[in-house]
C-alpha cells in the first residue's frame, strides 16, 4: 500500500517538474525567439529521412484512392474531353497569337520579370503539421542546402509561404493560408497596399482574407491582381499572391477588406521552390522613401503603419 502511495506521489513530482520545465521553455521561446536548436538538429537526422520515405507511402495511397474514385467516371469524361479537344485546338491557335502579343507587352512591363532572376532551389514537401489547426509543412532541404529563416517559398504559380525554422536537412514553412500568416501586399492595378491575412475559416472556400486596403480613389475591383508589396520586410516585392474575389468597405469608412483567391493550389502541393535571396530591410526602406517621394504623404503614412502591423504579427 505504501509503495503504491509513493509511486503516485512520485508521478506527481515528475508532472510538476515537467510542467515547470515546459512553462520555462514556452516563455523562453516567446521572449528570445529561440528556435528548437540542438534538439532540432539531432531530430533532423533521425526523423527527416524516415518522413521522406513514409510521405511517399502517403502520396501513393492518395493516388490509389483518386484512381479508384475516378475510373468509373473516366468513360463519360473521355467523350466529353474529345469534344473539348476540338474546341480547345481552335482556341489554342487564337491563344498562340495572343501569347506573342503578351510577350511583347511583358517586356515593357517590368514587374513580372523581377522574381524570375532570383536564385531558387527546389524542395519536396515531406510532412505536414501533426494537428488540424495550422498549415505548416516540412520540406526536405535545410541549412545545409543554404536555406535560411525568412526565405520566401513559391511554386510555379505564386507565393506559398515563408521559412520559419531550419534544421540541417529540413525546414519548416508557414503557408500564407495559415491562421498566423500576414503578408503585406499591393494591388497592382492601383498600387494600393493591403495585408493578406490567413484565416482558418476561409480555407475551405480556398480563399485568403484581405484587410486594411487603402483605396482612396475607390478603383480596386474584383479580379485585380495582388502581389507582395515593396514595403514588406520579409517578402520580396512583386511575387504574385492571387486575385481579388470580393471587396467591401470597412465600418470605419477608411479601409476596405475582402477576400482573395490564391493562385497556388494549397491542397495539392508537393514540390515548392525556395528563393535563396533574403529581403534586405535597407532595400525595403529605400523603396519606401522612393514611394513617399512620388505619392502624397497620406498614403505613405498608411503604408508605413502597415509594415509595422505586419512585422508585429509575423513575430510568431
Amino acid at each position: 500500500m505504501k509503495k503504491k502511495f509513493n509511486d503516485s506521489l512520485k508521478s506527481k513530482y515528475i508532472l510538476i517538474v515537467i510542467t515547470v520545465l515546459c512553462l520555462i521553455l514556452i516563455v523562453l521561446t516567446f521572449v528570445t525567439d529561440m528556435a528548437s536548436g540542438p534538439v532540432g538538429y539531432v531530430a533532423g537526422y533521425v526523423i527527416t529521412p524516415v518522413q521522406n520515405g513514409l510521405n511517399q507511402v502517403g502520396d501513393w495511397i492518395t493516388e490509389r484512392g483518386a484512381y479508384l474514385q475516378n475510373s468509373t467516371d473516366l468513360v463519360a469524361e473521355n467523350e466529353e474531353l474529345k469534344e473539348k479537344v476540338d474546341t480547345l485546338t481552335a482556341e489554342n491557335n487564337q491563344l498562340l497569337q495572343d501569347k506573342e502579343e503578351l510577350n511583347r507587352l511583358r517586356s515593357l512591363y517590368e514587374l513580372d520579370k523581377q522574381y524570375e532572376d532570383y536564385e531558387k532551389i527546389g524542395a519536396r514537401i515531406i510532412a505536414k503539421d501533426a494537428g488540424n489547426w495550422f498549415n505548416v509543412f516540412t520540406i526536405d532541404k535545410g541549412s545545409a542546402n543554404g536555406i535560411q529563416v525568412d526565405q520566401n517559398v513559391i511554386t510555379e504559380g505564386g507565393l506559398v509561404g515563408i521559412v520559419t525554422e531550419t534544421g540541417p536537412n529540413w525546414a519548416t514553412v508557414r503557408s500564407i493560408i495559415d491562421d498566423y500568416s500576414n503578408v503585406s501586399a499591393t494591388v497592382t492595378s492601383t498600387s494600393d497596399n493591403c495585408i493578406i491575412a490567413g484565416d482558418l475559416r476561409l480555407i475551405d472556400e480556398g480563399k485568403i482574407r484581405l484587410v486594411k486596403l487603402t483605396d482612396t480613389n475607390d478603383k480596386v475591383t474584383v479580379g485585380d491582381k495582388v502581389v507582395t508589396s515593396d514595403v514588406s520586410d520579409r517578402f520580396l516585392p512583386g511575387i504574385l499572391i492571387g486575385y481579388i474575389s470580393e471587396v467591401g468597405m470597412d465600418s470605419n469608412n477608411l479601409t476596405k477588406s475582402g477576400t482573395i483567391t490564391p493562385v497556388v493550389d494549397f491542397r495539392h502541393l508537393h514540390e515548392v521552390l525556395v528563393i535563396k535571396q533574403l529581403k534586405e530591410i535597407d532595400a525595403a526602406k529605400e523603396s519606401l522613401d522612393a514611394q513617399s517621394d512620388t505619392e502624397n504623404s497620406v498614403t505613405a503614412d498608411t503604408s508605413q503603419s502597415e509594415t509595422e502591423t505586419e512585422s508585429g504579427t509575423e513575430e510568431e
Binding site: 512520485k10 528548437s36 526523423i47 505536414k128 501533426a130
Partner: protein, 172 residues
C-alpha cells in the same frame, strides 16, 4: 528498459505516421490524432507514469517540428497522459468502450485548449465554427482510429508484460 525502448520506437513511429500517411488519408482536411490515441491507451493500460512518458515524447516531437512555442504541446500531452492515468486499473483494459470515451474526452479537451491559447487569444472568437469544423470532426475520426488501433496496442502491451514477467521469474 526493453519497454522504454519499445515505447520510444512506438511514439516515433506514430509521430511519423501522423505527419505523413495520416495527413494523406485526411477526410475534408481533417486527420486523426494518433499520438493522442497512443498516449491515452498506455495511460489507461499502464498508469500515470507511462502515460506521461508517452505524452511527453509525442508532445516534444510535435513541438520541435511544428510548434512556434516550444513546450506547448509537450505540456498538453503530458497532462493528457497524467489525467488518463487515473483511470488505470479502475476499468478492465480489454473493454473497448472505455478507451474510446477517454480518447474522445481528451481530444475534445486538448483541441479546446489549443483553440483557447492559439486562436481565442488572438481575437478569433468564433468558437462554434472551430468546434464544428475542426474539433468535432477530429474527435470522431480519432475515435474511429482508436477502434482500429486499440486492440493492437493492447496486444503489444500484453506481450511486453509477459516478457517482463519472464525476466522477473528468471531472477528468482
Amino acid at each position: 528498459m526493453k519497454r522504454r525502448i519499445v515505447m520510444i520506437f512506438l511514439v516515433l513511429l506514430s509521430f511519423l505516421l501522423q505527419c505523413t500517411v495520416l495527413q494523406a488519408i485526411a477526410v475534408a482536411s481533417i486527420s486523426p490524432n494518433l499520438l493522442l490515441v497512443i498516449t491515452v491507451s498506455f495511460a489507461l493500460m499502464r498508469g500515470k507514469r507511462e502515460g506521461m512518458f508517452v505524452g511527453f515524447l509525442g508532445g516534444i516531437l510535435t513541438d520541435i517540428f511544428f510548434s512556434s512555442g516550444l513546450g506547448f504541446y509537450t505540456l498538453l500531452y503530458t497532462y493528457v497522459g497524467f489525467v488518463n492515468g487515473f483511470c488505470c486499473r479502475i476499468f478492465y483494459d480489454d473493454d473497448i468502450k472505455m478507451p474510446i470515451l477517454l480518447v474522445c474526452g481528451s481530444d475534445l479537451a486538448l483541441n479546446i485548449l489549443v483553440y483557447v491559447f492559439r486562436f481565442l487569444l488572438r481575437g478569433r472568437t468564433d468558437f462554434f465554427f472551430y468546434l464544428g469544423r475542426i474539433i468535432i470532426p477530429e474527435v470522431i475520426y480519432t475515435a474511429i482510429l482508436t477502434m482500429l488501433c486499440y486492440r493492437l496496442l493492447l496486444a503489444l502491451n500484453r506481450k511486453l508484460e509477459k516478457a517482463e514477467q519472464r525476466s522477473v521469474d528468471s531472477f528468482v
